[in-house]
Amino acid sequence: MKCAGPIDVRDVDESSINIDPIQVGGRLTPEAMKAIIAYGDGYSICDNCRKPFRLDYIKTPPVDVFMRDLAAFLHMDVARVVPGARRGFQAVADTYVERGDPVLITALSHYTEVLAIESRGGLIREIPKTTENLITPDATAGKIEDVTRETGKTPSLIFIDHVDYQYGNLHPVREIIKAVHQYDIPVLLNGAYTAGIMEVDGKDLEADFIVGSGHKSMAAPAPSGVLAATAERGSEVFRTTSVKTDVTSRTFGIKEVEMMGCTLMGVTLVGMMASFPRVQERVRRWDQELANGNLVVDALKSIQGTEIRSEYPRKHTLTRVDTTKSFDIVAKNHKKRGYFFSSALKTKGIAGIIPGATQVWKFNTYGMTRAQAEHVASSFKEIAAENGLSVL
């Protein structure tokens, strides 16, 4: 079935249980699906944009209230929507990083943090991870000391991932930020895998910035995200234009330089807004999500030879698993080779694993019903048993 021309209908979430590691927290709520039906046209959010002509001043629909609520949700002073977390990283890097400045990321950081620094000509240095794939306050302080000795400058900015994309591990960010602040360095907390699915309290964590992803964790269309800041840092990153052009003497009101004027328009913003009440509510049910995740993780652990590479017990629904000594052994002799696994999952109505992956792979159980989690857990065990693997 086609949507239009060569574009297939995408029905992966209607026809199967999707366990794609990056997609599940961004699936739309019913409210967002309905809102985007009405707001699909390009500048649809702008029908009632009036002076001073800025996104966060629009009252119909109530974007102004949403922006304030978004900041409050993250326990920060000010928030703006951005076209994806990466544009939040970029806005902060543009504000604080000068050419040659050392900037710290972690050994588990997302590539877009690297690109944001690289585009400024910053000197990227990584905080090493432990053997358990965690970032610690001691390693962070040690790296600050090392880099300061190496370059003669303290880092101008530090990016810390709340939960990393590689292992889905929850890092001790409160303690890390406390350590960083002893050096008076601003901290950007990357909440792409936390803000919108679990409680994030920026005040408690003492983050200078929190960046979240709408399409990863806030049930919103892509590209969308949030950049939230303290009042002090907000005045820096959300500074307004002061330019007057030479020929026409034009000025540009209160447009925010790093936001490039308005950021999200149409479906991205209205989708975020429509999902927001449910997002605010769902973070309080994180324990249920973890219970579903652990059900699936425990099922995988019961398959002989399978190892969970993420921290255990799990504190997040994104998990990295190593089946080199279980499903990959099956793949070596199976007529479908490595594709047997994704094919078997498909037969059981489960999608989202990269076809051919039987060694190290990731999955995410976020948003499943309990019945769906039970189905996924039993399916892994059944596939193992059907292929001669021992299930404890």
Partner: protein
């Protein structure tokens, strides 16, 4: 002249279909509905038929 009933009906019908779409998601892959979901679906389909009837009446009388 604007047909406000037709405009409202077309959006309401799409919203009802969206609710059914969400039910397909929540019950994937088997799509076996619980008694409560069956009851909700019957109600949704009944309302949807009324919206379609409004569209017939307004647009192709």
């Amino acid at each position: 002249m604007v047909s406000k009933p037709a405009i409202d009906a077309v959006f309401e019908a799409m919203f009802i279909l969206t609710d059914i779409r969400v039910m397909l998601r929540e019950t994937a892959p088997g799509h076996v509905l619980s008694p409560a979901q069956r009851e909700e679906t019957v109600a949704l389909l009944g309302t949807l038929e009324k919206k379609v009837e409004i569209l017939r009446r307004e647009l192709v009388p």
